[in-house]
């Protein structure tokens, strides 16, 4: 009864309570967004890395995937040695290169091209057509759209430009076999995929591979396979998704720390807001509380009622803050996804139920704590003095 009487007092000053709820909702939304941002990109990146089923990457020693022009020599031999490692289910070689599309006498901007094993489906999903054979290409959806390409069309590619003669050098013609949805492309990126031997021949890098995607057997821990690959092929670096996410985290340290700082500020604001509202509310009902104590209601019950009031305020604020936070996360994500070179499938904000529950739990706990201080003050105040003040 005491608790419900205290909760009803929140509705007595409706305008004030609504304002406090709005403030807590905004703070809770900001805290939610910062929680989602703190791990969002790494989680989203991790999901993307494993989207094709290839959870490991094998690169030239000490280099992250496509971080330099370095390549692995004798790609076929290295692939065989990796495939022989216990726990490895499949190995997908990739050679990255830049080609220019030649149309008539003109050439376009460099287009990122990968040489792949068409059986692997590692870097793209076919949208239409079929996997490339020798002399064939898969083009990305934006490239197909912008150049009006479809399966069966021909495309001339130049690996080099002759700067002095003013023309493309080493031009080769390829047939488009299909259109693909490239998993790691940024929005609107033009990409191409061809068979690995074609890419090696066109770039003059016979036998070279930029990286391998490695799929592991079900139930085998990625980290143990990484260790076994490192032991079996010491001239390469093997990366598990967890390790790559760790590297990503290092590069995005700024966002992680910004999220921590802003999340902390949001919590402080919530604490200030709830404690201000509860403190004033308790002070206004000082006489009421003194009367309750005078008629025999225990201080513990009164304190509990004040704490529940804080809990209710913070809880309702969280309920309102959750959709607001998700809406804000969508808007902020759109801003951050305009970073140059960020894969279109990545999201900076990840919904992780455990972390979100922790953040909202923190806000509610702050609400309860904020009620403790004024509540204790009210139940510890000298009874006679409180009653006299109320009578005056």
């Amino acid at each position: 009864m005491i608790v419900s009487a205290f909760l009803k007092s929140l509705f007595r000053r409706r305008g004030r309570t609504l304002l406090a709820l709005a403030g807590i909702a905004v703070s809770a939304a900001l805290l939610l967004d910062m929680t989602m941002l703190a791990s969002g990109l790494a989680v989203s990146f991790g999901e993307l890395l494993g989207a094709s089923g290839y959870t490991l990457r094998v690169t030239p020693k000490g280099i992250l995937p496509f971080d330099s022009e370095a390549s692995i020599d004798d790609g076929a031999g290295v692939a065989r040695r990796i495939a022989a490692v216990r726990g490895v289910r499949a190995v997908a070689p990739v050679l990255g290169a830049q080609f220019r599309i030649v149309r008539g006498d003109s050439t376009g901007a460099p287009v990122f091209t990968v040489g792949i094993d068409p059986r692997s489906e590692f870097l793209y999903r076919l949208d239409s057509g079929r996997q490339p054979g020798p002399g064939e290409l898969v083009v990305s959806v934006p490239l197909a759209r912008d150049l009006g390409l479809k399966a069966g069309d021909e495309l001339a590619l130049a690996g080099e430009l002759d700067v002095t003669l003013g023309r493309a050098r080493a031009t080769r013609r390829y047939r488009v076999s299909g259109v693909g949805d490239f998993l790691y492309d940024y929005a609107g990126e033009h990409s191409l995929a061809m068979t690995l031997p074609d890419a090696q021949a066109a770039t003059g890098r016979a036998g070279s591979v930029s990286l391998f995607g490695v799929a592991t057997d079900a139930g085998v821990a990625d980290d143990s396979v990484v260790r076994r690959i490192a032991a079996a092929v010491p001239e390469v670096s093997a990366w598990s998704t967890r390790q790559l996410m760790g590297e990503m985290d290092k590069r995005l340290l700024y966002f992680k720390q910004l999220a921590t700082i802003l999340g902390s500020v949001a919590m402080v604001v919530t604490a200030l807001l709830v404690s201000t509202i509860i403190t004033i509310g308790v002070r206004e009902r000082f006489g009421e509380i003194a009367t309750l104590r005078a008629i025999g209601v225990s201080g513990r019950r009164v304190l509990l009622a004040v704490i529940v009031e804080g809990l209710a305020l913070a809880g309702l604020g969280c309920v309102a803050g959750l959709p607001l936070g998700l809406w804000m996360a969508g808007r902020l994500d759109r801003i951050l996804l305009s970073f140059p070179g960020i894969p279109a499938r990545i999201s900076f904000f990840a919904w992780e139920p455990r972390r979100v529950a922790l953040a909202m739990g923190l806000v509610i706990a702050i609400g309860a704590l904020a009620g403790c201080i004024p509540g204790l003050g009210a139940v510890r105040a000298p009874l006679a003095q409180a009653l006299r003040e109320e009578a005056e």
Partner: protein, 273 residues
């Protein structure tokens, strides 16, 4: 011409040989971590190359320019004479880019078009265009900060309004008495708005002070994390002025709203609970 590229140090600090060796400049952080000093000999192999490591003499240690574009990767650097670096790489006689100094009075745009016409497949950028392209990342960060700033202002405005309404509600009886003894609505209104402005401006001043302290902590922290002289947080007079003006505007707004709740009610009703 000097080119910079990240390379793998194969072996460091082998004894200096009497034969003249090509020279290399070493990033201060790399020199500290190996450690290396001028006169030491290092053997270097390009990660992208297939050749054997080559020996170089450390000619000096340099401090890398504080470049925000490279802060996230924060790689250590070596600087070679261009032919030495080209000899390490698989494709000789290649450069990533040229920097041009134009004659006085030459127009960058027409020079750029001329270069593109003469050297097929190249793109020439003026320094302003290059800076604009390089700052794309920071424009996104800036937009993100703006969005967070708007949310923070919203939370602050609600908080201030809440505080003002609570303060005014607490003194409704006093306000009622003032009105009953003849103090005009306008005077009560102005008094409440003035109080809100004082609270907001005082809060802004304290906030600016806290901001200065926070900026110092943030800069010291990131300077240690990235070993850089870059400053991540700046509190400029313009920012302080904007904060003060925002505080003033929020104070007036919150005060006016809180005051309206009091002056709109007949004075005899202000004493009611």
């Amino acid at each position: 011409m000097i080119a910079a590229l990240a390379l793998a140090l194969a072996v460091a600090q082998t004894p200096t040989t009497p034969a003249p060796l090509p020279e290399v400049l070493v990033d201060r952080r790399l020199a500290e971590s190996v450690p290396l000093k001028p006169g030491d000999t290092v053997r270097v192999r390009a990660l992208a190359g297939r050749g054997a490591p080559r020996a170089f003499v450390v000619a000096g240690v340099f401090e890398r320019e504080a470049d925000p574009n490279r802060i996230s990767r924060n790689e250590m650097e070596l600087r070679f004479h261009l032919p030495d670096l080209q000899a390490l790489l698989p494709q000789p006689d290649r450069v990533d880019r040229f920097a041009l100094v134009l004659e006085r009075g030459a127009r960058p745009d027409s020079a750029a078009r001329w270069v593109e016409g003469v050297a097929f497949g190249t793109r020439a950028y003026g320094s302003a265009a290059l800076a604009d392209q390089a700052s794309a990342t920071f424009r996104v960060v800036s937009r993100f900060h703006d969005a967070i700033g708007i949310v923070t202002i919203l939370a602050s405005a609600i908080f201030l309004l809440c505080v003002m309404i609570i303060r005014v509600d607490e003194r409704r009886r006093d306000m009622g008495v003032l009105r009953l003894i003849g103090v005009s609505r306008g005077t009560v209104f102005r008094a409440i708005v003035l109080e809100a402005v004082v609270i907001a401006v005082a809060g802004s001043a304290v906030g600016a002070g806290l901001g200065l302290i926070a900026a110092r902590i943030v800069n010291a922290h990131y300077a240690a994390v990235y070993d850089t002289t870059l400053r991540f947080a700046l509190v400029t007079p313009r920012i302080v002025l904007i904060a003060a003006l925002l505080g003033l505007a929020l104070g007036i707004g919150a005060g006016a709203l809180a005051a309206w709740r009091v002056v709109a009610v007949p004075p005899q009703k202000l004493g009611e609970r």
